[in-house]
């Protein structure tokens, strides 16, 4: 509930800079709900972001917050977490930030299974710079740098996370806010690299150019074009083609987390072993 999470916001810095109908505020709220529900100590919680509209979220959250460089949030966060493993570290990243310029850090952070909770605000576009295509822009969609339609195939970023070693992967949308909070909570529960794709809407730099209508229409589109993973399993690939599959997509229990491994290494070395 909003009134319960206001304490986790820098209320004095609101209103935020996001456009009318932008999904970023909705994802940020879902994140704070999850943090609140899980009872994380705000003094021991750090949120790290890159650069982009979505990455501005750190400015409004009342923790130690770190707004870094385009694409580098995961690398900064790796330093924070490894240096002080007792901290709960979240990463806020955009689809461009996390999968293009930060793509290399993405696969390597996942590979290490370092305990970071990564929320990618996926609006399928570079919002901040006015609507250039990203690695998550679907083929055929329009962008300022794809005036004749995007030729490139997008990543399935959840599959990329899983293939790279993430031990928790979930996806939801800004329409499915309850599920979004739930997958973020599950990400928090997972001790290891957890990835949540929050499918968002950017009515200004994406919706307009692609004639998707205003924010309410984009919400409706999300509602009609998603299938819960459990239903999808029953429906089969053919019937779910082109749909966004939401829910908990992958969870691998029992894999040792990186900072824990490092602490064990220190103990081993201190005992004089190798």
């Amino acid at each position: 509930m909003l009134k319960d999470i206001e304490k986790l916001m820098r209320v004095k810095r609101l209103p935020h800079i996001w456009c009318p109908g932008c999904g970023n505020g909705i994802v940020m709220k879902a994140m704070l709900e999850a943090i609140n529900d899980k009872g994380l100590d705000p003094d021991k919680t750090v949120v790290v972001s890159g650069i982009g509209c979505s990455s501005r979220a750190t400015g409004y959250m009342n923790f130690d917050t770190l707004h870094t460089m385009h694409g580098r949030a995961l690398a900064f966060a790796t330093g924070v977490k490894l240096a002080k493993p007792e901290l709960n570290v979240f990463v806020v990243t955009g689809d461009g930030d996390g999968s293009a310029i930060g793509g290399n850090h993405f696969i390597h952070a996942a590979r290490r299974n370092i305990d970071l909770n990564v929320i990618m605000f996926n609006n399928n576009i570079y919002g901040m710079t006015g609507g250039q295509y990203s690695p998550l822009t679907p083929q055929g969609r329009f962008a300022t740098t794809a005036p004749y339609g995007n030729l490139e195939r997008p990543f399935d970023i959840c599959k990329l996370a899983q293939g790279s070693g993430a031990t928790y992967v979930g996806r939801s949308t800004v329409f499915h806010t309850k599920l979004l909070t739930d997958v973020i909570k599950a990400a928090i529960d997972n001790k290891g690299f957890s990835f949540v794709e929050a499918v968002s809407i950017c009515p200004i730099s994406y919706g307009r150019r692609n004639k998707l209508g205003a924010a309410p229409q984009m919400m409706k589109w999300l509602k009609e074009n998603t299938v819960n993973v459990k239903a999808a399993e029953k429906l089969g690939a053919e019937k779910t083609a082109g749909k966004i599959i939401i829910g908990e997509l992958y969870h691998e229990a029992g894999t040792l987390e990186y900072t824990e491994l490092y602490d064990r290494l220190i103990t081993r070395v201190e005992e004089g072993g190798r």
């Binding site: 509930m1 209103p15 009318p20 909705i26 309410p216």
Partner: protein, 64 residues
Amino acid sequence: MNKEKKIEVNTKGCKACGICYALCPQGVLDKDHMGKVVVKNPDACTQCRICEDHCPDYCIKIGG
């Protein structure tokens, strides 16, 4: 109980995106001439919080 009180809207912060009144299943919310949210039919509110959860600008609070 004052039913008006249970839907608190911050008209000043409202950016007139239209999400809340499009999503409210009970037709409680509507827009003014600027497209900003207004509470039209408070009695019908079921406190489902769909509006609160989807307002990108944190302008609606449901319940006491």
